[in-house]
């Protein structure tokens, strides 16, 4: 099934953000449906909730707080969506990719690091206590998310002996990486969720601090942040496919369709987890990340490296 991955004309880049937005919308719709179901309302009304949200936020005026750093605030709000779009440039859709970078895996990681700055800027810009606490909560845990993520990203690259995403896909011709590096896969998924400030890791926007970095944003800014969050989550789900799930490999359907189906499934799992588990309190996570998760990631790299060198 696997063919060499070809770089398509940059003109196709117009479609990438559209596809990403559709995934973000689907994620938001699923989230709305799950909320509606647990509240005992018709699921369909919940699935339509994102449209109502968009309409609402487009109508809403932008409120500015006292002595806000508006420039940095807006950069933070708009940046999430940009970062998510940049992330998907290196993800192959079946046989096609927009940017066949030598170092696609590192590119993805770099965009994750951008998110450190963006969430902090959103919290900082508002100049209010709860928003600032939210921004700092995210940034102070970002190291705990980032290091395990880095090693989780490196693991498939070690097995494929390349940082090029296409090579990583090709290396899974016989066996998907998720099967023999499950620890790295789980850590990758957890980190994607954490970097989207979502589900159990959504403490930066927690209810206990009145919405955290979201507390003072309104109107279009809020719309951009919420969309950006779903887009980052979707981009992370999409990256899991070439990295661990064999890219476009699969029976019957064409490669590009398999990529989309797998992405949708991973995204659905990411969205659903929010409804199943409580938040992980921020002051309790760092120790676990450093004492359990990071060594587990390192061990996984070691095992994979030994197998890769041996074979």
């Amino acid at each position: 099934m696997t063919e060499p991955i070809v770089q398509v004309s940059p003109a196709w880049a117009v479609l990438a953000p559209l596809a990403l937005l559709l995934f973000a919308l689907a994620g938001a719709g699923l989230n709305g449906a799950l909320v509606a179901r647990s509240a005992g309302r018709p699921v369909r009304s919940g699935a339509g909730a994102p449209f109502a949200q968009v309409a609402r936020l487009l109508r809403q005026r932008r409120q500015v707080t006292v002595a806000a750093d508006v420039l940095l605030w807006r950069i933070g709000a708009g940046g999430l969506l940009v970062v998510a779009i940049l992330k998907i440039l290196v993800i192959p859709l079946g046989p096609w990719t927009l940017a066949d970078l030598d170092v696609g895996v590192v590119w993805f990681n770099t965009m994750d690091v951008m998110i450190w700055a963006l969430f902090w800027l959103i919290g900082w810009g508002a100049n209010s206590a709860h928003a600032l606490v939210g921004g700092y909560r995210f940034l102070s845990l970002a190291v705990s998310y980032e290091l395990p993520l880095m090693f989780a990203l490196i693991t498939p690259a070690v097995a494929a002996r390349s940082l090029r995403v296409g090579d990583v896909v090709a290396a899974q011709h016989d066996l998907w990486f998720v099967i023999w590096m499950p620890v790295a896969f789980v850590i990758f998924c957890g980190s994607v969720i954490a970097f989207s400030s979502w589900g159990p890791f959504a403490t930066g926007a927690g209810r206990d601090i009145a919405g955290g970095f979201l507390a003072d944003v309104s109107g279009v800014d809020r719309l951009l942040i919420l969309t950006g969050r779903y887009a980052v989550l979707a981009a992370g789900a999409a990256f899991a496919v070439p990295l661990f799930l064999g890219g476009g490999a699969g029976p019957l359907l064409p490669d590009w369709l398999w990529t989309i189906v797998k992405t949708a499934l991973v995204l659905a799992a990411f969205v659903a987890i929010r409804h199943r588990v409580p938040t992980i309190r921020p002051d309790r996570f760092a120790e676990v990340a450093w004492i359990i998760v990071l060594p587990a990631a390192l061990l996984q790299v070691l095992v994979v490296a030994i197998i890769a060198v041996g074979s």
Partner: protein, 394 residues
């Protein structure tokens, strides 16, 4: 005309409501929340997130001032309602929607607002800036860390003075910021204000006070309250407390579950199946290892607990509430006995007073997230407090 009206119509299907509860109006709030749930609306976490400000009950002067301040922070389109009776609730919310989608009125409102809480407004967040030291600094020649204090007049951004410094719990010098928590916060006891001194997100010291309802008791809510049997009232209250705590712990599914059980009891539904449902929820909470781990070490100490001395973990408190509610629901299938009313009230008032007194000690040295969980775990009944105040004044 087309696009704006379509947007308005779509937007009106998902209104976000900032709920302010006046002490003693918890039933109005719960009825409002139930109605919001039916409509698919949701509760806003902050003023910037809200279209509708709903004040449940009739606030006293201080609380009214706080509501007006918050009202000014709603971005708009915005509208506000005062919820005092259960009967008119659907009509009230329909009216609010009509006001929200009315573009011409909203434009008028936007024009009428002075500055949208913009810079140069000297006291936008009243209370936040009181009692801080004014220390002007000269940053022009800051060579080698030499600083010149108080020599020059520096314009304060937005009129906000600098925070003072002080040693933190690790012996480092940190800014001390005065931040009042409440009275308008989601999942927060009605009317409570905790004036905190923060270093980072750690509370250095805290003082608690209650902003009361208007002094004349609100007939309507009193009336609604006495219709409900005491045991049922207790179940409703326990479910409400549990759902607040679960919301702060970030467990949405369990929170919704507790809230639905609360709303069923509130509606006067048959309680026969209720005990079993509450029991299932309790077991679910008990089984969650993630919740156990996440809430570990959160304890109510000292006089905050009923039996003095013994610490009570927040998680056990939560499970205890659900167990008590399940047992109560088991004993009263249809109606049920009415417990001795006055004795209960007096005891409740005493408990609430003890909890309030214990707050400053309890919160010292905790971070904001922990503090919120601890306060939710106290299950502070601010309405009961009011009665003690009135007794003590008599």
């Amino acid at each position: 005309m087309g696009v704006t009206s379509v947007l308005a119509r779509w937007a009106s299907t998902s209104v976000r409501v900032l709920v302010v509860e006046v002490p003693g109006s918890d039933e109005s709030r719960m009825l409002l929340e139930a109605e919001l749930g039916r409509r698919g609306w949701s509760v806003a976490l902050s003023p910037a997130d809200a279209d509708l400000l709903a004040v449940c009950g009739i606030p006293g002067d201080e609380l009214r001032a706080a509501c007006d301040l918050v009202w000014n922070q709603l971005p708009g389109p915005r509208t506000r309602v005062s919820v005092t009776t259960a009967a008119a609730l659907p009509a009230l919310l329909d009216g609010a929607v009509a006001h929200l989608v009315d573009d011409s009125r909203q434009r008028e409102d936007a024009r009428a607002r002075s500055q949208p809480v913009a810079a140069e407004d000297p006291t936008p967040d009243a209370g936040e800036h009181e009692g801080m030291s004014h220390e002007d600094m000269d940053h022009e020649d800051m060579d080698h860390g030499d600083m010149d204090h108080g020599a020059m007049d520096m314009p304060m951004p937005g009129g906000i003075p600098l925070a003072g410094g002080g040693d933190d719990r690790d012996g480092l010098e940190m800014d001390m910021l005065n931040v009042p928590l409440g009275p308008v916060l989601p999942h927060w006891p009605a009317g409570l204000v905790v004036d905190c001194v923060l270093q980072g997100d750690v509370i250095v010291s805290a003082k608690a006070r209650i902003l009361q309802a208007a002094s004349a008791p609100t007939e309507a809510s009193e009336q609604a309250m006495t219709d409900v049997v005491d045991a049922r009232r207790r179940i409703i209250r326990l479910c409400d407390q549990a759902s607040q705590l679960l919301a702060l712990a970030g467990w949405q599914a369990a929170e919704q579950n507790a809230r639905r059980l609360r709303d069923d009891s509130l509606r006067g539904a048959d309680l026969t199946d209720h005990g079993a449902a509450l029991d299932r929820l309790r077991r679910r909470v008990e089984r969650s290892t993630l919740l156990r781990w996440s809430l570990k070490g959160l304890k109510l100490t000292g006089s905050a607990t009923r039996d003095d001395g013994a610490d009570l973990s927040i998680r056990h408190r939560l499970i205890g509430w659900l167990r008590e509610a399940a047992e109560l629901a088991g004993t009263i299938p249809g109606g049920g006995p009415i417990a001795a009313h006055d004795a209960n009230r007096a005891q409740e008032a005493q408990e609430a007073q003890d909890a309030l007194d214990a707050l400053p000690d309890l919160l010292r040295g905790t971070d904001l997230g922990t503090a919120r969980l601890l306060i939710a775990g106290l299950g502070l009944d601010t309405a009961a407090l009011r009665e003690t105040h009135e007794h003590s004044h008599d």
